[in-house]
């Protein structure tokens, strides 16, 4: 187990004075499902958005500490954010295909890179849709608008469009919160296969999903990382009282 991303003493504050992350240190383990969970407002999404610098859009006042990815501190202003976002892909909680066809949605990121080779694009579309377990459902309607798919299919389409860039890390922020149980199961199953190839960071939408999927789990509470441990350990015998209370449903 090696660290793919190493977050060191990260403190992050929004300009309205809300402190979102307090001195968080966490190693994201390569080729594993890293689950970040806890009640709302705990700082999970803030951490994700720091990892691909999507936080640049928000009013971040201070960001102290380091995030090391491929031996580089990505908080360094000199970081090429566009390159970073291609390597650290992100899937959002509400499926939002772009107003384009299924095919164009998948290759959107590649198009932005200037890729024009038709056979490579075709190949990448099939490969990504297969990885996202969507190919069998959409192979005959690649030219339909992405928004014509069902909610579960749309979310897998959003995953496919991230995979098309062949990222090293994929972050999913409550990817199944708007989906039915069948679609949820499909996505969770997909993660188990995907982790052989890349590193996964998942913010689950409930504790059960966290327990089902976690290889490693970190429990966040009000901006602090309370506990971080292999999934089985954390859910079966948590070290901290707060973790135990949350996992057993005493609060949350």
């Amino acid at each position: 187990m090696s660290a793919k991303i190493s977050v060191q003493n990260l403190t992050l504050m929004y300009s309205d004075g809300v402190e979102s992350l307090q001195n968080v240190s966490i190693d994201i383990i390569a080729n594993a499902v890293n689950v970040l969970f806890g009640p709302a407002g705990g700082g999970k999404s803030t951490l994700l958005r720091a990892l691909n610098r999507l936080n640049d859009l928000a009013d971040v006042d201070t960001a102290q500490g380091k995030i090391v990815f491929n031996e580089q501190n990505i908080l360094d202003p000199a970081t090429d954010v566009i390159e970073l976002r291609r390597k650290v892909g992100m899937v959002f909680s509400r499926p939002a295909p772009l107003p384009l066809s299924v095919y164009e949605n998948v290759i959107y990121g590649l198009r932005l890179m200037g890729e024009r080779n038709k056979s490579l694009l075709d190949e990448r579309v099939e490969q990504s849709l297969r990885q996202a377990v969507l190919w069998d459902e959409v192979y005959d309607r690649l030219n339909d608008p992405g928004t014509s798919l069902s909610g579960g299919q749309q979310q897998r389409l959003c995953i496919a469009r991230v995979l098309a860039l062949e990222p090293e890390v994929i972050m999913l922020d409550e990817p199944t919160s708007a989906l039915d149980p069948v679609s949820t199961a499909k996505i969770e199953g997909m993660l188990a296969t995907l982790k052989e190839r890349l590193t996964i960071i998942l913010v689950p939408h409930n504790v059960q999903q966290a327990a089902r999927t976690a290889d490693y789990a970190g429990f966040f509470l009000q901006g602090r990382l309370v506990e971080y441990a292999p999934g089985k350990e954390l859910f079966l015998k948590p070290r901290e009282k707060e973790t135990q209370d949350y996992v057993t449903g005493r609060f949350g």
Binding site: N52, L54, L57, I82, E83, R85, R86, G89, M90, F92, R94, A96, L98, P99, Y108, G109, L112, M113, T147, S148, C158, R161, V162, L165
Partner: protein
């Protein structure tokens, strides 16, 4: 018991005001048709769509007027659309919050500026400027009218376009950015296309606003009902349908052929505005349906 009775009263009042607007519109339509359609019997169709508008001599060709309106409106849109949509994109995607908070209300106030005031500015400032700058015999041309109308249409276009851009879910933007798009690519590749139907509605309403505008164009276009022979016509005086009705209606004998033809022009104008509005609202409706599909 008392409240139930009061409720019934209120329901009735609301119902009557609702129906009355339909009634008024149909009355206007009826009146317009009654005064306008006799023109078709009095002037042969061939002459009515002839090339000369010279009512005193009995020439009632409305082509020069239709053409004047189209020329001025198209010119106005060529100015209004790029500036209007550009401003809207700036306001919604690029401007810092405090600039937006100042600019948006100002633009909306601009939309309420009486057109006669703009016409006055047109005569006093724009026309002499264009005459000198473009070396024309007169500054009162179709071009001056188009520029002025463009300025009149811009606030409408900006205001509605900006609303349309704002309703694009931020997940689209974040999704594109997270895939490695830069700000520019996100705006032109994702946000603007996603707001497409709203932007079209804005443009259509801008068209409606320009084609129906009377006062400002009457003041600055020079009022010469001539059928343009070349592109040069843009820099010559022209006259629109609205300006014709407004300037001649006061002097015409009620019930005369001229009077009926002026109403007929009104019918043509009404037809054009109706077509524009129907297109706009059907586009808006289509976008609403798409949004519903997205949410389900």
């Amino acid at each position: 018991m008392e409240t139930a009775k009061g409720e019934r009263w209120i329901t009735w009042i609301i119902k009557i005001s609702g129906y009355s607007s339909i009634l008024f519109v149909s009355l206007i339509l009826f009146f317009l048709a009654r005064e306008g359609f006799p023109a078709l019997g009095e002037v042969p169709l061939k002459d009515l769509f002839g090339a000369r508008w010279y009512p005193i001599e009995g020439y009632f060709g409305i082509w020069p007027l239709i053409f004047g309106s189209v020329l001025v409106t198209v010119g106005a849109l060529l100015i209004g659309i790029p500036f209007g949509i550009g401003t809207a994109v700036y306001l919604s995607e690029l401007a810092p919050a405090w600039i937006k908070n100042i600019l948006k209300p100002i633009i909306e106030i601009l939309a309420g500026l009486p057109s006669v005031v703009l016409g006055f500015l047109g005569i006093q400032l724009a026309a002499p400027f264009f005459r000198q700058f473009l070396n024309l015999p007169t500054g009162l041309t179709a071009f001056t009218g188009a520029v002025l109308l463009g300025f009149i249409a811009i606030p409408t276009i900006v205001s509605i376009s900006e609303d349309a851009l704002n309703t694009v879910p931020s997940t689209y933007r974040h999704g594109a950015l997270a895939l490695g798009a830069n700000h520019w690519q996100t705006i032109w590749g994702v946000t603007v296309p996603a707001a497409r139907s709203g932007l079209l509605t804005a443009v259509m309403l801008g068209v409606g606003r320009s084609i129906g505008e009377t006062m400002a164009v009457m003041m600055v276009t020079g009022n010469a009902p001539v059928l343009p022979r070349s592109l040069n016509a843009l820099f010559l005086p022209a006259r629109t349908m609205t300006a014709t009705i407004a300037s001649e209606m006061g002097e015409v004998a009620t019930g005369s052929t001229h009077y009926h033809v002026l109403f007929f022009i009104g019918i043509v104008l009404f037809g054009i505005s109706l077509a524009v509005n129907l297109t706009a609202s059907s586009l808006a409706l289509r976008s609403r349906k798409r949004a519903e599909r997205l949410l389900s």
